[in-house]
């Protein structure tokens, strides 16, 4: 499990990449959600680590991660949950997704070492732009893990070049200017935005934020290498694992049918 695993995954075709907040609605139910999305054919899973002040997230993920905190979920527990999933034989790439402060409190060096040991493949940290990522970047390189950077519709050509140069694994394209959360429709300018980044890099491009159903996922899969779905699945997590499975299946089919 390394950066290479992520690269191989993208080489096989467009990837379905669900985000599952660990610990929501309960720790065990969140593990069931991961099992369910993997069973439907998810190619990679973002495991959400809760933070008290998730400023890039909309109400759905805010509420879910708040509940996870109330359930006593910590970075340590997230690592244990990931290890448990690996022990069950789930082999798709895992990315830990969380805000910087809990990771700093855990200690970046400890974190990356522990992650590498339990075969986590990389990190997504929304409040860590490349300018501030020196230490984390070096640690991830040392252990051959991905550190995923973002680009947004507001990103200038200079920033696209900067991220293109630093990116390893894939680049996370934020589909809209805003916070996470399902939307009624995709941004009209999304294809042009993806094309703009595509012109600057060969690194796979995964699109996230605002993608909520199979139809939207199919649209995005036409021009992206990965389709990330978070809030829509999180809403289903409040209902049941079966509901998660049903939506994940719909999206997986849309993404993989192309």
């Amino acid at each position: 499990m390394t950066l290479k695993t992520i690269e191989t995954t993208f080489s096989r075709g467009t990837a379905f990449m669900p985000y599952i907040p660990l610990g929501y609605p309960t720790p065990e139910a969140s593990l069931d959600a991961v099992r369910a999305v993997v069973a439907t054919g998810a190619d990679m899973v973002e495991l959400g680590v809760p933070f008290s002040d998730p400023l890039a997230d909309g109400p759905t993920i805010q509420a879910a991660t708040q509940r996870a905190l109330e359930n006593g979920v910590t970075v340590e527990k997230c690592l244990q949950m990931a290890a448990q999933l690996r022990a069950e034989g789930i082999s798709v790439p895992f990315l830990l997704m969380g805000y910087l402060n809990p990771f700093l409190a855990f200690g970046l060096e400890n974190l990356v070492e522990a992650a590498a040991k339990i075969k986590i493949d990389g990190f997504i940290i929304p409040d860590l732009p490349p300018e501030e990522a020196g230490e984390m970047d070096a640690l991830c390189r040392k252990h051959d893990l991905a550190l995923v950077y973002f680009l947004a519709p507001t990103s200038t050509p200079e920033r696209i070049s900067l991220v293109a140069e630093k990116a390893r694994g894939f680049i996370y394209l934020v589909s809209l200017t805003g916070v996470t959360g399902a939307r009624n429709r995709l941004s009209d300018t999304l294809p042009q935005f993806v094309a703009r980044v595509r012109a600057a890099t060969d690194t796979p491009l995964a699109v996230g934020f605002g993608i909520g159903d199979g139809a939207q996922a199919r649209q995005v899969a036409h021009f992206a290498d990965g389709v990330i779905v978070g809030s829509a699945l999180v809403k289903r997590m409040a209902e049941s694992t079966a509901a998660v499975h049903a939506l994940a299946e719909e999206i997986a089919e849309s993404v993989h049918s192309l």
Partner: protein
């Protein structure tokens, strides 16, 4: 180590730009627009004109004769930011940034507020300049600062209640940032303290530095010499840095920042980031690296202070550096000490201070009696206390 200015967006190891990618271009745009604005004599002339004719600057430096006599030690001067239009130092920065936003072509302003003073300052500046103002405020703060909520609405601002997290200042900042992320093309985030990602700690500091420039000149006029000690309360730290900045090169002027000690450090119910090494560690909150009150797992702690304006779990990065290099010292005053100072200043000087500023007065009360009668203290009276009457009446009734 450069203690007066940020280098590459950082004050020593503190500061930086820990924000989502969507905002990185906006910060770059803000940085270059700000640099161009302060190099433009017309912009600065307009700012200074408004500070004079609208805010009512310069604010007086008042010798607190009866307080000084009562304490029997150092002479105490009060820098009267409470006399600014809208009642606190916050208007200095709000006007500066609103002018900057207008120059950048932004039509919509979002801001957070805790005590409501920054919200009122922002609403005031936006009314004056014809900008839309949306103010995010935690519901806990809305409950304890009703007069300011009403004031903001009168001034034409929309006050959006924030129900998430601890429902105080930090959560209001989260919501303001989420709004900014969503509406970044049209919207300027008018951050109210020396916090957040670069360039905010620099911009806010610069717009507040007028406090210290005036105070330095005024004390030289009044006493023919510089003060021995400056005292200011520190929430995010904008009034303190505003006072300190002009004195940083004056080696013999001591500087004391006063944090909110709440119910006492041991209680854990406080906002004293520098006084509680068990709970406050280096971390990242709202885009900046500084000392942050947090759990062992890196979750941000809820803070407590009788004054909403000091009720914040992190502190401006320049303060963290000034403390490291021992250019400024930091202490705290408890809720009780602040309330005592609130009453004492009201009775002895006829000045009702904001509960935030009362923390600085409380430190002067502790310190002045131990100093010589020839020594001089300047206390930054950062705001007036009208907004706090409900809180004080309730607390006074509870204790009788």
């Amino acid at each position: 180590m450069n203690i007066t200015h940020a280098v590459d967006g950082k004050f020593g190891p503190y500061g930086g730009q820990f924000v989502p990618e969507t905002l990185m271009p906006a910060l770059a745009e803000l940085e270059s627009a700000y640099a161009a604005a302060i190099a433009d004599p017309e912009f600065m002339a307009e700012f200074e004109h408004l500070l004079k004719t609208y805010v009512g600057r310069e604010s007086p430096l008042t010798f607190a004769r009866r307080l000084t006599d009562h304490l029997g030690g150092a002479k105490i001067y009060l820098k009267r930011e409470d006399l600014n239009h809208s009642g606190a130092h916050k208007i200095n920065n709000a006007l500066g940034q609103a002018l900057l936003a207008k120059r950048m072509g932004k039509t919509r302003i979002v801001a957070e507020t805790g005590a409501g003073q920054h919200g009122v300052g922002t609403a005031t500046a936006c009314a004056l300049l014809g900008l839309d103002a949306i103010i995010y405020m935690g519901t806990v703060d809305i409950a304890r600062q009703q007069p300011n909520v009403y004031r903001m609405k009168l001034l034409g601002a929309e006050v959006r209640p924030v129900e998430s997290g601890s429902k105080t200042l930090k959560d209001a900042i989260n919501e303001a940032i989420r709004d900014w992320v969503t509406n970044v093309e049209t919207t300027h985030y008018l951050l109210g303290s020396v916090l957040g990602p670069h360039p905010y700690p620099t911009i806010v500091r610069d717009f507040q530095a007028v406090i210290g420039r005036e105070a330095r000149r005024q004390i030289l006029d009044a006493e023919g010499r510089l003060p021995d000690t400056l005292i200011a309360c520190v929430g995010g730290g904008s009034n303190a840095i505003g006072l300190f900045q002009a004195f940083l090169d004056d080696e013999n002027v001591a500087m004391i920042g006063v944090e909110a000690g709440g119910l006492g450090i041991e209680s854990g119910k406080h906002a004293a980031r520098f006084a509680d090494p068990d709970r406050a560690r280096l971390g990242v909150l709202h885009g900046t690296r500084s000392f942050v009150l947090q759990t062992a797992d890196g979750q941000i702690m809820e803070t407590h202070s009788v004054s909403a304006g000091l009720d914040y779990p992190s502190v401006g990065p320049q303060h963290a550096l000034l403390r490291d290099v021992e250019r400024a010292g930091y202490t705290f005053a408890t809720d009780d000490e602040a309330l005592e100072a609130f009453h004492l200043l009201s009775r002895l000087e006829g000045i009702i201070p904001a509960l935030e500023s009362a923390h600085a007065v409380a430190e002067a009360i502790k310190r002045a009696p131990k100093m010589s009668k020839n020594d001089i203290i300047i206390v930054n009276l950062s705001g007036r206390g009208d907004k706090d009457l409900d809180t004080v009446i309730k607390l006074t009734a509870d204790s009788h």
